[in-house]
Symmetry: C2
Subunit: 333 residues, 2 copies
C-alpha cells in the first residue's frame, strides 16, 4: 500500500518537526471526482463528521412530524457542541419537549470542550453531566427517533437496537454503500461507527447538498439539516471553533463538520460539491489546516472567508512563555 | 523521499483508524547499526529526550566541583518531571543550594503534568510557577553552569548566551556532529533545540552509556548522569509515566527518556547500545508503543520488565463511558 501524501507539516524554527499524511476528495453528487489526493477508496471511520447523515433518521422515521423539531434542535442533532451554556440549555429543552431528561442520555459525561465552560463548572464545584457531552444533541435526536418508532429508548446506543438500525439505514441510503460488520467500531459516545471509503462520505455530502439521487423526503430532510447547521453555526460546535467560524463566514454556502481523529467532511452547497478528508494519524490540528486549505482552493472564498480560513491553514505554535516558535501549515492542497 | 514505515496503529473495533509512521535505530558506541527502520539520517529535533546530553555541560564547566551536585539534582537536570510535590520541592532545594530561586528560572510556568498535582493546585486556588514547569530541573542545571562559568545568568536561555554555547558544545562533542543554524528552533521551555540525524542521537547515547569515544571527564560525567537518572526514575518523569516505570523495572540497565513530539531516546547500558526513535507525526502515545516494542525486542526483558513494556506496546483506547473500544499498538518492530 503506497503512503498517502503529506498534507500538513509542523515547522519549528527553520526545520520541519512533524509530518501529517492524509487523503482528501471533492466530488459532485454524481460521484464525479473534482479533485483528490491519496487513497480515497480506503475505508475510514467518519466519527462525528457525519452526524448530519445520521440525523436523517429523524426524517426517515417521521420524528419531525411528531415533535415539529426546531432548527435549533436539528442543528444540535448535527453538533459536536462545546458544552457552553447555550448548548447545555438547548439540549435540556430539546429533551424536555419530548418528555425526556438527561437521565435518558447514554452518551456518558465529560468536561465541556470549551475552556471557560470547564472553568465555570470547576468554580461551581460541579461535575459535568451527559448534557455537557459534545454528542448530547445527537443523542437527543436519536431518542426522538426511538419515540417516533414507538420502541423502548433504553439501550438505543447499541448496534442491534432499532434506533441504530434506522441510523445505519439512513447513512447507507445516502452514501449508496452497505456498512458492514467487518469494519465497525464503537464511537466515543458509545454508538457504532462504520468505516466506509472516503469517496463515499464525500458523495453522500454532495447528495445531501443537492438532493440529487435522493427521494423527495430525504432531500427535504437533508436540506432542513444543512439549513439548520449552517443557520446556527455556534450550536454545531462552539466559540472559536473552525466549524462554527467557517459556517458563520460562508453564510449558508458551506456545511462543514469535523470528526474525531482527523476527519473533516462537508459540502460547498452552491457548487453542489461534497468533500471528505482524513489525516492518517488522527491529528485534529493538522486536519484543520488541511480542510482550511481545501476550502481556500475549492470554495471561492471572499476576503472575509479567506481571512477565517488562513487562520487555520497556518496556525502558530507557541512555547510555554507564549512566544511563537513555529507553525502548523497545510501543504500540497 | 520515501515514506517511513508504519510503526504503530490505532485500532477501533476491528478496523485500523490511525497510522503512525516513524524511524528507529539501535547502535553501538562505534556507530555500528544493530537494527533500524526508516530514514535514520533525517535530522530531527530531539527536544527533551537529550536532557542528559545537555546536562554534560555541568561537568564540562566544573559546576559539579563547585556545588557538589547530588544524584537527585543530576536526575532533575535530565528530567521532564510531572510537577509533583517531590519534584517541585527538590528543584526549589536545588536552586536554594546555589543561592538562587524560582525567579531566576526562564522556562515559564505551566500546570503540572501530573493530574493529582494539577487538582491540588486548583483546589488551593494557586497558579503554577516555573518550578512546576517540567523542565525546571534542567534549567536549574543550566543556572549551575552559568554560575560555574562566572557569567551573568540572565538570558541564559538565549542561543548566543555562554550557557547555551556550552550546552551546544557538550552535545556536539557527544554526538560527534556539528549542530547548525539552518536546522534550529526554540524548545517549549525557551532554549534552542537543534535537529541532527536520528543515528547521531542514538550514537551519542551509546557513547554516554559506555564512555567509548569520550575523554575521561565526559565519560565520568555521562556515567554520573545515567546513574542519577536510572537511580531516581521518579524524579526523571513521574507517577505512572513510561520513562519512570521502565527505569524502575530495569534497575539501571536501561536509561530511557522521551521528548516532545514523539521522540524517544535511551541506552541499553549493559549491552552498550544507544537508541533513538521519532514518530513522524509527533504523537506521544504512538511513540510510547514504539519504544516499548523496541525495548521488548532489544533489551532482553525479564517477566516483570516485559509486563511493564507490554502495557505500552498495546494501550487500550476507551470511550467516554470508560469502555475499551480499541487499542494503540506497535507494529513492525
Amino acid at each position: 500500500m503506497d503512503a498517502n501524501p503529506i498534507l500538513a507539516e509542523a515547522v519549528r524554527g527553520n526545520w520541519v518537526e512533524n509530518r501529517h499524511r492524509g487523503a482528501f476528495v471533492v466530488v459532485d453528487a454524481s460521484g464525479k471526482v473534482i479533485a483528490s489526493s491519496g487513497d480515497i477508496e480506503r475505508p475510514v471511520f467518519p466519527r462525528s463528521a457525519i452526524k448530519s447523515m445520521q440525523a436523517l433518521a429523524i426524517f426517515d422515521r417521521h420524528a419531525t412530524d411528531r415533535f415539529n423539531h426546531t432548527s435549533e434542535e436539528l442543528a444540535l442533532a448535527c453538533a459536536s457542541h462545546h458544552g457552553e451554556d447555550e448548548h447545555v440549555g438547548n439540549v435540556a429543552h430539546f429533551l424536555d419537549r419530548m418528555g425526556l431528561s438527561v437521565n435518558d442520555l447514554e452518551c456518558g459525561a465529560h468536561m465541556p470542550t470549551n475552556a471557560k465552560a470547564r472553568q465555570a463548572l470547576r468554580a461551581a464545584g460541579a461535575s459535568p453531566s451527559a448534557l455537557h457531552n459534545n454528542c448530547s444533541g445527537k443523542h437527543a435526536g436519536m431518542l426522538s427517533v426511538a419515540l417516533a418508532m414507538g420502541v423502548p429508548a433504553s439501550g438505543y446506543v447499541e448496534r442491534e437496537h432499532d434506533v441504530q438500525k434506522a441510523v445505519r439505514a439512513a447513512v447507507e441510503y445516502v452514501i449508496g454503500e452497505d456498512l458492514t460488520e467487518d469494519r465497525c467500531g464503537t464511537d466515543g459516545c458509545a454508538i457504532p461507527t462504520w468505516a466506509a471509503p472516503l469517496s463515499a462520505w464525500a458523495s453522500g455530502f454532495a447528495r445531501m447538498a443537492t438532493g440529487q439521487g435522493l427521494d423527495g423526503e430525504h432531500a427535504r430532510g437533508a436540506q432542513a439539516l444543512f439549513d439548520a447547521a449552517t443557520g446556527h453555526p455556534h450550536l454545531v460546535a462552539g466559540t472559536g471553533h473552525l466549524d462554527t467560524l467557517v459556517m458563520e463566514a460562508f453564510k449558508g454556502r458551506v456545511m462543514q463538520k469535523g470528526g474525531a481523529e482527523g476527519v473533516q467532511c462537508g459540502a460547498i452547497r452552491d457548487k453542489g460539491w461534497g468533500y471528505a478528508l482524513k489525516c492518517d494519524d488522527g491529528n485534529m490540528v493538522a486536519s484543520h489546516a488541511m480542510v482550511a486549505a481545501l476550502l481556500l482552493k475549492f470554495a471561492d472564498p471572499d476576503a472575509n472567508q479567506k481571512a477565517v480560513l488562513d487562520q487555520f491553514a497556518r496556525q502558530p505554535i507557541k512555547n510555554v512563555r507564549g512566544t511563537v516558535v513555529g507553525e502548523m501549515r497545510a501543504v500540497g492542497i
